[in-house]
Amino acid sequence: MAFVPPKESFAGRVFPVTIGSEVQETFGGENTLPFHTFEGEVPHRPLIAYEIQDVPPDDWPETVRMVYDGVSDDPVKWARHCVEELKARAITLRLIGTHPDNKDLSADDAAKTVSEVLGAVKVPFIVLGSNHVEKDSEVLVKAAEAAKGHNCIIGKAQEANYKTIAAAAMASGHKLIAMSELDINLSKQLNILITQMGFEKERLITDPMCSALGYGLEYTYSVMERIRLAALAQNDAVMQPPLVGDVGMYVWKIKETQAPEDALPEWGALEQRGILWEALTATSLMLSGAELLILRHPKAVDAVEGFIDELL
């Protein structure tokens, strides 16, 4: 029997999204399943963005906190370190200090931080709130304004606050992350609601909600796979924005990245365990569809870049 490679091609294509002003990066744009260069076009590498925050990362576990020792007390220093020392291609600034249970910083504080950090480095930026629906509507409006002209990604818009945040992103010319909770239908619905406001679907990034390896990864994995198949096979334009995996935040709060080896010898060395946990969560989500990844540990970023090199 002769073997004929069972290639598949699709009618649909993921939108390419370009961010940044002086320095730009593009991700998405493929018309095939993740890394299927053997049967379709994959014009852009997935983009990995280093995560920094507006306040010192006191709640990050030691493995990842200590690599930013001496720079993480100041977001500008931290951003410079990521770009100059770690060669970050993009940065995610999470305004976690604005959360009412954190430092409850004001929207003006946040805007000031955004201006300072964006003024200090030239790589593309993703500016995220604290995931507090009410507070984010204030904070992200001012943050988007402060970042005007930088062609950032603003996020995350959720069902409860998308109107304000999408309007702010639109007014200042940014891209937007739309986040819903692990359900393809909710994802689709939110993307529709946002585009009905006049926000172009080509400027959206879908976040179906991340989960860490061992903590629901299979849900995110399958929702991403289904969204990708809807975009490609069914040519569903609402599902064609690229997908983001907000990995670091979910990985660096679970037990496997924190429990010391002397407490759990059967789990092995803590540092390598944490780094691998972040990297393997990221690569698994890339294989199911994520084109934009938000990570914390430089060694995890390097490992994921190495993995992408082998695939492209």
Partner: protein, 447 residues
């Protein structure tokens, strides 16, 4: 591809004799198509029909078991490309490679790593499943020596013998007689000899070719030599080729019922850097490998890979559950708080993790709600005041704590009255809605 009812009907005797228990041959054919009956029920079916129907009903990826006894593992039988369509059936095997050129202490260390690799996660025992013994020296005696050593120290662990030299293969195979080893190393050049050895020793044959066309030709050749239990290697080593070949193999088998590639796939992912090796192994886990050969088994790496395999092979229709009981977090005393939640594994992981983060020792009552999360279980009537009261009474927790206060999830605040009514002498406190607010909630109470 499975046959339709009408296609099957054409192969039946069409006598409507009813001996099968159905009124007509067509009715029987329909039941066959739905796999609700087997062909044995028809006494008059021709051998030709049996052959065709047998082939059509065989799973697209042939089931293969390696090893013997408790540690034997089954592979293959996969039916889909994406896990949301249907459960991935048989989790991949992780095989730890030992080369016959490695020094004694390394060999000893690796045997020990495998034997101590077992971890319990969500009630499943996970481990490195097999050894891959590689004849890297080119010396038959050396591989045989390694085989003997492994057989002595780890007699129950399934093995893959990796060599292209029939003489070395024969010597090593004899060590694992009756244990269904894999003889990996049939190529175009040595296929006859290797097939004969696999047959003589009851081994599974691993075949390797460079690319999918030569691999197709080789599996057909080996099959014609009388060996049907195969695992296949397309020669892919880099991630890009592994993804391409594994995808084409699975698609050909599942969508085209292409028999020459309908076998479990073996991937070799060894790398110098263990983190990179784990990421490539993860590609194999997610993308259709049945055996993933690795070069080292550090505990941190094992934990991540086992967890990924468990996640990918979870049945998407059945939620993962944890055992119903009162879990102790930290070292709780009889004064420590008591919280309750449901037994959906994610709910349990997240709640217990946050309680742990709070550093406040506590008792966590995890109630069997058939693996549903709190709100879903409440909506489905499985997490009700009466059921919670019953569970608390029967759990025996009243003997372990002095106080009578139960903290319930904020989303089911509505239950507090009903629980207090059924659970006499108890006070119900409404906790936060989201688990991530537990640390501040518990700490402020403890202060």
């Amino acid at each position: 591809m499975a046959l339709t009812g009408v296609e099957i009907f054409k192969l039946l005797p069409k006598t409507n004799c009813k001996k099968c228990g159905f009124p007509t041959c067509l009715a029987f054919a329909m039941k066959l198509a739905q796999r609700q009956v087997t062909l044995d029920a028809c006494p008059d079916v021709s051998d030709e029909a049996k052959r065709i129907l047998g082939e059509a009903s065989a799973p697209p990826v042939r089931p293969i078991t390696i090893g013997a006894g408790d540690k034997a593992v089954k592979m293959g039988e996969e039916t889909v490309l994406f896990r949301h369509e249907k459960k991935f059936v048989n989790p991949n095997v992780f095989a730890l490679e030992i080369k016959d050129t490695e020094p004694d202490d390394v060999v000893e260390g690796k045997i020990n790593d495998l034997l101590t690799s077992e971890i319990n996660r969500v009630g499943q025992l996970l481990r490195i499943d097999a050894f891959c013994l590689t004849g890297a020296s080119g010396d038959a005696g050396s591989l045989e020596g390694l085989a003997k050593r492994v057989a002595e120290k780890a007699p129950d662990v399934p093995v893959i013998i990796s060599t292209e030299d029939p003489e070395a293969a024969e010597a090593a195979l004899k060590v694992f007689g009756g244990k269904k080893a894999v003889l990996y190393g049939a190529t175009e050049a040595n296929a006859e000899k290797m097939a004969a050895l696999a047959k003589a020793n009851g081994a599974v044959l691993g075949v390797r070719a460079e690319g999918l066309e030569p691999l197709t030709a080789l599996t057909e050749k080996v099959k014609s030599l009388g060996v049907e239990d195969l695992v296949i290697d397309s020669g892919a080593r880099r991630a890009r080729e592994i993804l391409e070949h594994n995808t084409f193999i699975r698609r050909a088998a599942v969508k085209k019922n292409f028999k020459p590639l309908g076998y479990p796939v073996i991937n070799f992912v060894q790398r110098d850097d263990p983190t990179m090796e784990a990421l490539i192994a993860g590609l194999g886990v997610a993308k259709y490998a049945s055996i993933v050969v690795i070069s080292s088994a550090e505990k941190w790496k094992n934990l991540a890979l086992f967890t990924l395999r468990q996640n990918i092979y979870t049945d998407p229709q059945v939620p993962m559950q944890v055992e119903q009981k009162i879990y102790k977090i930290g070292e709780p005393t009889e004064e420590s708080p008591l919280l309750i939640t449901t037994n959906f594994s994610l709910t349990y992981f997240i709640v217990s993790g946050e309680v742990e983060n709070s550093r406040v020792p506590a008792h966590l009552a995890v109630m069997d709600c058939e693996g549903l999360s709190v709100l879903t279980a409440w909506a489905a009537g499985k997490f009700t005041g009466a059921k919670i009261a019953n569970f608390i009474k029967e759990s025996g927790v009243e003997k372990e704590i002095k106080h009578r206060e139960l903290i319930i999830p904020g989303y089911v605040a509505i239950l507090s009255g009903a629980i207090e009514e059924k659970l006499e002498g108890w006070k119900v406190t409404v906790g936060p809605r989201e688990a991530n607010a537990l640390p501040s909630f518990l700490r402020s109470r403890a202060a």
